[in-house]
Symmetry: C2
Subunit: 304 residues, 2 copies
């Protein structure tokens, strides 16, 4: 089943982490930006081309070290159509390099619209009888606020196409508790979401004991992660908030099961901006990213 | 302030409704599709070109009858980059025709990423000191699940750029109650969201008494709309679910205030597929859409 593809890549690389590709311009070495501005000006095209060059360098340096990459859609959408083009090129290139692609889009809508989103990313798009691929990835993030009929189309496509999703359960940001921690029937709201994840995850469990419906659980809330790990025994966790947002290796431990599986930890800025620390040169951004990805892998594996 | 722009267009057209542009292929007259397939094949390009032709015809027929259009991003994203291109062309054309544009994207993320989404649609994008417009619209929908720091960047941009947002409060779909109706402190969850909307809406209230932070409240839940109307006195409501989803004119009445303002009712399929009813020919899709938009306007106004 679908999540097995990710698990097998994690086993092969012995690395339960994912490199976030959130290419804010200030993360990109100035020499790359200057070169694309020379050709396209300080425009959306110039920014998009710099993003693509940067991502390509990162993927080349990381593809045999990390099992997966996670592009964050917002940082492509903000550069308009050229930015979307850079996302499509990045996705295609990462796929060619054998990386598992988790597209962080947090989509959500009513059933028929959720089906359209699912077709865009994990299903296929029908054009009067012909099937086409709009932006094919392995996995997307979804927001659960609309309930089952906003998530079911994704789950159905996961079953058909061998894909996976991560539903937001407990997010990593400071204000995540405002709504997610509200108590209902004596339990915080995120636990109710976790119970729905279990329902959605039924009938999708693969050979390693995990299903197609995973959960986003922030590294910044390790105690909540412990409880959620107990509730969603058969769900993989996507764990943001490690590194720049303050979560450490011990904080992410709670998201793993005793089998050493069950979670994949994201680092975006830590890997992308590694070259800004420790005396690296700008031109060494890819080497620095690789070194940081290896350091992170070893740090996480040391606590499992 | 920002929502005033919408209110003035509603007053001018005497029409508190919005035409949804959710261009599913099966909504598009076959003769339009056949023409674009002849040039591009049954491909993403062929679909995107058909969408653009259809939208252009609809906008030409509707721009002086409705104050606003609401493209649903999913139905463009599902056609990949060509689909995104059709969305950008549609947005540009609607703006040229003077329509208020509510882009239905339901975006949500942690603070810094929410800022990127806001830049994409209602703010501006900085490229090393130069400002660019990625996909400029008047208003977007947002999902509140991440709390204040996922919404604040949008609100800040609303203040700077005179724009508006609608936060999901009570959605129109059948399973919206699974999570949104959960009781906490004796109140359903959506009321807690409504209280947050009030906080976000502070300091944005314009000349008609409404602020930049509105709420999505489904026509399919009229009793809840009544309560929410009381709680969020200064928020405009975006009301989906009218027509095809089952809500009628009496159901949407509760979303309006006594001043006849306070809500804008969406119809997508009803307007886009009007030509499929009442003996219209395919070639008359635009006339049929206009007639339905006028009928809907009159129906809603008759109960206010």
């Amino acid at each position: 089943m679908s999540i097995d593809v990710l698990i097998e890549k994690i086993k092969k690389t012995e690395n339960p982490s994912v490199a976030g590709l959130d290419p804010r311009l200030e993360f990109i070495p100035q020499y790359i930006r200057n070169a694309t501005y020379e050709r396209y000006g300080k425009t959306l095209e110039g920014a998009a081309e710099a993003i693509w060059e940067f991502n390509k360098g990162l993927i080349d340096a990381l593809y045999d070290v990390v099992p997966a990459v996670k592009p964050q859609s917002a940082f492509y959408e903000m550069y308009g159509l050229p930015g979307e083009g850079a996302l499509h090129k990045t996705v295609k290139y990462a796929r060619e390099k054998g990386l598992y692609i988790i597209l962080d889009v947090k989509r959500n809508d009513i059933g028929t619209t959720a089906q359209a989103y699912s077709s865009a990313y994990i299903g296929r798009t029908e054009v009067d009888g012909e099937l086409a691929d709009a932006c094919p990835v392995d996995c997307v993030t979804v927001n659960p606020y609309l309930g089952t009929d906003g998530v079911r189309p994704f789950v159905d496509d996961c079953k058909i196409y061998g894909k996976a999703i991560f539903a937001l359960v407990k997010t990593s940001n400071p204000s995540s508790g405002e709504l997610q921690d509200k108590l209902s029937d004596g339990k915080p709201f995120y636990e109710h979401v976790a119970e729905l994840v279990n329902v959605w995850n039924e009938d999708t469990v693969g050979r390693y004991g995990y299903g197609a419906v995973g959960a986003v659980v922030g590294a910044t809330y390790p105690e909540q992660a412990k409880v959620l790990r107990e509730i969603m025994k058969h769900s993989y966790f996507l764990v943001p908030g490690y590194g720049a947002q303050g979560g450490g290796a011990r904080d992410v431990k709670n998201s793993f099961n005793d089998d050493g599986l069950g979670a994949i930890v994201n680092s975006s800025r830590g890997i992308m901006c590694a070259y800004k620390k420790d005396g690296w040169k700008e031109e060494q951004f890819a080497e620095a990213a690789r070194a940081e990805a290896i350091r992170m892998r070893d740090e996480i594996c040391s606590v499992l």
